[in-house]
Symmetry: C2
Subunit: 117 residues, 2 copies
Amino acid sequence: MMDEMESALHRFKAEFFKALGHPLRLAILDSLREDEKSVSALQEALGAEQSTLSQQLGVLRQRGFIEARKEGTAVYYRTVDPDVYAFLDLGRAIFERQLEQSGALLGRIRGEGEAVR
Amino acid sequence: MMDEMESALHRFKAEFFKALGHPLRLAILDSLREDEKSVSALQEALGAEQSTLSQQLGVLRQRGFIEARKEGTAVYYRTVDPDVYAFLDLGRAIFERQLEQSGALLGRIRGEGEAVR
DNA sequence: TTCATATATTCAAATAATCAAATAATCGAA
DNA sequence: TTCGATTATTTGATTATTTGAATATATGAA
């Protein structure tokens, strides 16, 4: 039987993965790869509702993925630990293999020339 | 604005992460690190209800993380792509740093000597 | 001040995920 | 066959997550 400590760890890890289990949150992180961005810049870039965006930014901030800097009336978000991108990219590699195996729709996603992450 | 292809990719990736965003599913994967295991062995090891376990095995299988082999009346599950463990471990490293930064409860989890994943 | 802009928070509704009990399906042994 | 063991599926109840509209808050400019 699993001991308590181990399952506590699994609970924490699950929280970590859950934070990444949302399209908009992934899009936000990708959007912050090169530079910090203001909320309105993200809104423009991602085409999300203001309140929705703000809420998902809150999730990512709570879980420690991003942090905020205030400048006048704007708030700029940036990635706390750039290593998450290595992690996300490794995730992509693995999940691409899964898709390939299931003979899936990767072609459409991967596209040609397009630098898609 | 994000184009459709990119957001489709984010949706797929989110599904991938979401599959990992559950304590029992993580425990299952960890349990399958070294060897395949039957459902009843997992049930014993993880202390989960039979139906709950079977359901979560189904999620992991659907998403392509594990696959099944039938032997008599037992079903043995194994990890499809062992590289997911490198991925999970990298995830752990990153999320540990997040915890440390937030001054958190990692000590208790990490324990001494105990090989916790 | 007051106003406009940017962001966060609250709220309610809709949807999705989780759980465990009950039932079904499968298989080997008697 | 029938029985027992193993696993999967269905079901209903519960809880969690997501969404956008509405409202609140903060800040700088006039």
